[in-house]
Structure formats: structure tokens, C-alpha cells
Symmetry: C2
Subunit: 246 residues, 2 copies
């Protein structure tokens, strides 16, 4: 605790921007940051990152890696406790729906993180980086974890992230088309392949094209920004074409 108090002393030396950032963090996280530099790093998108002397880009991507793991664990425990009678397949799938990019993008807007990012990126094209809000939210989780520890982060995620989800609604309304299709193919003993036809675009903007082949015959195609989404889209099209009940 002594170290953290010492760090609080630094707040006296904050410049104007740092004061604003600290206030924003307090508003979002519920408590003033101990180590503000972690949060500065968390909102540093790779596209605005400077290169350090040894050629490393100083961006939030490492924090995002850590935050992604912490978020996954806390959502896992939340679901584990909330659904004591559901199997691990259900838990895995429900979690992937909660921590997916689009959902996290929306949460980032709701908690005010998007506004902070827009200020940080001023003058730059945010639309070129579709997942910047969600990515930054994960990096923020990583920063909170390093700054305040696991218990604090868990509380933040439960009270300020998961609360925005209607978990029962998520379970009822989403369907994993790929699973449905594979189930069907096994029941019908038909061999099924998911073929990645092509990947186009550049590092930031990708489009995957997936084709579904059943017993050697192409049945449907799907496109998406990830292979998973393209497979889902293709599976959805195949289910419609083959009249597979959803």
C-alpha cells in the first residue's frame, strides 16, 4: 500500500492532459489510477504509436493480450457460477459471444472509453480500424489488472462490463450455424469440408471467403472479416439451402 500511496503523490505533478485522463479513468473504472502510465499505454493504438530506440512499437497491443486473458477468465467464472447445470460446450460458446469484438466495441462506447479514444486519435481516421474500441477495452482491462490486481479487475468487469449484457437474451437469440451444419452432416453421414478459398485485403482489413463442400459438391459460400465469421456465414447459407432446421 505504501508504494501505491507514493504513486498517488505523482498526481500532484500531472499536467493538464494527464489530469483529464486520470479523471476519465476514475469515471470509467470507479477509482483513481495508481499508475497513470499504464492507462496512457492502454489507449495508445498501434496506428499512433511511436517507435522506441530498439525498434519496438510502443502500443497497447501487449496490454490487449493480457486483458483479453483476464477478461476471458472472469467471464468464464461468471458463467460457470451462473449456469451450474450447463456443460462446457455451452459455457465456451456463450463466452465467445460475450467477449466478441462487436459486443466489446459497443461496451466501449457505453462506458465512455470510445470518447477518450476519439480524443486520443483526433484527426486520424478511426473508421479504418474497426475494432479499435473493443481492442482498447481489452487493453484497459490489462492496465487495470496490472495497476489494481485481480479482485479489483473482477469487480470492474462484473459491475461495468457484464452488466451491459442480457446474458439470457444472448443465449436465446444466437445460433451457431456451423455446429448445426456439422451435426446434420454427422447424422446424415455426409462428408463435409470447410474450404478457405481466399484471403484478400491488407493487414488491417481482411476478407475471408469460405466455401462449404458436401460430398464433393460446393453447396454455399460465405464472406467475413475473420475465417470464423466467413464459416458462420457460409454455414448459414448452407442451412438455408438444405432446409436444415435451426
Amino acid at each position: 500500500m505504501r508504494l501505491s500511496r507514493l504513486l498517488r503523490l505523482q498526481a500532484l505533478l500531472y499536467n493538464k492532459n494527464e489530469k483529464r485522463l486520470a479523471a476519465s479513468i476514475k469515471h470509467m473504472v470507479g477509482s483513481k489510477p495508481f499508475n497513470l502510465s499504464l492507462y496512457k499505454l492502454a489507449i495508445k493504438h498501434a496506428s499512433v504509436a511511436e517507435e522506441s530506440i530498439n525498434g519496438l512499437k510502443i502500443s497497447n497491443e501487449r496490454l490487449e493480450f493480457l486483458g483479453d486473458a483476464v477478461l476471458g477468465t472472469i467471464v468464464a467464472e461468471f458463467l460457470f457460477i451462473k449456469f451450474p447445470y450447463r456443460d462446457e460446450g455451452f459455457l465456451t460458446e456463450t463466452r465467445s459471444r460475450i467477449v466478441n469484438r462487436e459486443a466489446l466495441n459497443q461496451i466501449a462506447v457505453k462506458i465512455g472509453l470510445a470518447k477518450l479514444i476519439n480524443e486520443e486519435m483526433r484527426g486520424r481516421n478511426i473508421n479504418a480500424h474497426k475494432s479499435i474500441y473493443g481492442d482498447t477495452l481489452e487493453a484497459l482491462v490489462g492496465a487495470i489488472y496490472l495497476d489494481r490486481g485481480y479482485a479489483f479487475t473482477k469487480n470492474f468487469i462484473l459491475k461495468r462490463i457484464i452488466i451491459h449484457f442480457d446474458v439470457d437474451d444472448i443465449i436465446n437469440t444466437t445460433t451457431n450455424f456451423k455446429s448445426k451444419l456439422i451435426e446434420w452432416s454427422q447424422k446424415e453421414s455426409k462428408e463435409i469440408d470447410f474450404e478457405l478459398v481466399s484471403v484478400s485485403g491488407n493487414q488491417r482489413f481482411k476478407e475471408f471467403l469460405v466455401q462449404i463442400i458436401i460430398k464433393g459438391e460446393p453447396v454455399a459460400e460465405g464472406k467475413g472479416p475473420t475465417k470464423k465469421k466467413a464459416e458462420q456465414e457460409a454455414s448459414k447459407n448452407a442451412c438455408e439451402k438444405l432446409n436444415i432446421p435451426i
Copy 2:
């Protein structure tokens, strides 16, 4: 703490098997369990699980889901701190090498968990379940997390799991053949596809066959128990065939 002390009272009522299990856990984990039933569940493989009244199989798979997440987070933080100057791609890949099934199987043998599983499964064919040791190790992590909390689990993972890895050696000796191949194809502007040709086997035993197609021509094939491994194997074969330097 009161609850946990109460639970310790239960130790007075342990039967012979429970006493042995508690002693084994103490030996492996470094401390007596508070709630022994979590550990009983952790070593309950799906193949020996009973069905509950509502048709749910009571096995360690839910704990494995939770433990997998906790293990991933703690290894993520360990690597984050150990390698301050490496990017998130490196961190992701190194983690996946540490928490892979084969490595976890070996750790389970080293810490004595395999012995416990063999006793639990006596008379049954363990070889039919290749990843039972590693899966159970993850379930054990899940049980420790629920029983003792995050800090205790972190200590267990750092002191009793990660210690068995020579992380520097892992980094130096393993190669991601798929990345190498994709890098090469981008440099040479050749279109590359990873085609999943077939999946054979049953629920427990799977074999994936992947074919690599470059500019429409099949170049190499690979087999493996997961799609990822099959892709690695196929990529390795392709790299050899095309004389791509590793």
C-alpha cells in the same frame, strides 16, 4: 475464513479414500484442500462420470473450461513481465506452446497427478483418452481457483507448473511452419489455401487431413489430431518441398 475453517472440520469425517485424496492434493498443491469435493470432481473424467437425475454428466469438463482460462491468464502475465520488449504475437505464440496438451500431459506426470488419475481410472483404458492428464491438470487448476482463490492459484502455477518449462529453450527450438509459409507466399505473391480435406474418427479420436494448395496446385499434405497440428505438419512438408528456409 470462517467458512473455510468449518470446511476443514469436514476432514475429521473423511473416509479412507478421501483421506488419501486430501493427502495427494496437499502433496501436489502445497496445502490441504478446503473443499475436497472440488478436487474429487477435478479428477472425474467424462468416461467414468455418472449421470445426474436431470441427465447432466457430472465430470471435470466444466472445471477444465475454467482452469484453462485461469492458466492462460497466469501464463500470459508471466510472459508479459518476463519479456517486456517482445510484441503480442510472440507472447501469444509462446503461451500456446506452454499450455499445449502434450506439455500439460507431461507436467501432470511430473507433479504426480497422472498417478492419481491412474488410480481413479483403474481397470479402464487410459490410452483411449490421449489428453486425459493435461485435461485433468486444467480441471485441477479450476478446482484450486475456486477453492483457494486467484493469488494462491497463481503461486501454484508459477511454482509448480511453469517451473518445469525451459521457456528460453521453447522459444529457440520451435518454429511455426504455417507462419513461415504464409510469410513466404506473401513475399512471392502466391495465393495459398489451407484446405481441410477430411476429418475421420470418433468424438475422442480424431484425425484431420489438411492439404496445402499454392496457385491452385496441391503442394503438400499433413495429418494430425487437431486441425492446427495437421496444418503445421502440412506446412512443414510444404516448406521442405519448396526449400523455404526455416
